[in-house]
Chain length 135, copies 2
């Protein structure tokens, strides 16, 4: 099962793709990893447009079965929440166009998993869990 993991941000957006293998003892193999960077000097539509184009390209290339995004509801500033929202908007448009379902993970779930392996959090993608967090 191929899964894309996204840590959404407008200045830095983390974009990884893993292949999850095995049934009992699952293993994740990293197929692709990059950080999409945009600058506050660019017009907003270029920043968001570029994020959308890049995510769509990766979804078309690796055809993941799901997109897992880190979702954080408590930001220090509204403005930050708003701008992370722009980036997630771009990701959601790309996922819609590519026909890939999107699942949200709380940052604690992601961080705990990160302690073991950079992309192991995708291992939690069991169907029952997916249903719960589907956004």
């Amino acid at each position: 099962m191929v899964v894309a993991g996204i840590d959404p941000g407008i200045t830095h957006l983390g974009l990884g793709v893993v292949a999850v293998e095995g049934k009992g003892a699952l293993k994740a193999r990293l197929l692709h990893g990059e950080v999409v960077k945009t600058s506050p000097q660019e017009p907003a539509k270029e920043r968001v447009g570029r994020i959308h184009a890049r995510v769509l390209e990766v979804l078309h290339r690796f055809r993941p079965e799901a997109v897992a995004v880190e979702e954080q509801f408590f930001y220090r500033q509204n403005e930050l929440a708003y701008k992370v929202g722009w980036a997630l908007g771009a990701v959601l448009v790309a996922a819609f166009e590519a026909g890939v379902p999107v699942y949200a993970y709380g940052p604690m779930q992601v961080k705990q998993a990160l302690e073991t392996c950079l992309f192991n959090f995708t291992l939690n993608l069991t169907q029952s869990f997916l249903e719960k967090v589907r956004i």
Copy 2:
């Protein structure tokens, strides 16, 4: 000059297109007006994907010279700011794809103008002002 005005929201997104005519005493003529509605019952990617598709369709149909969006930085809740951000992300992707510049207006500017005419706020689109608020 044709201008699209957008009041971004994830549940209700206001989408209008006006033709601004005249030089001294400007007049705005409404070419198109609609509210794009989505439901919290829909998956997020469908909501945002549908907003993107609809905005892109209207931009292609009316080919406005600019998109004016109401921008609000102070939301009561982070979550609301975040979700309005999704909608604006979809609008920004559409504007990027259609090659239309996006300009942000504070809600007070919009509301004051609304007292005179529903879409008159677009009359303020002078070049110097546009430069200042370009996002």
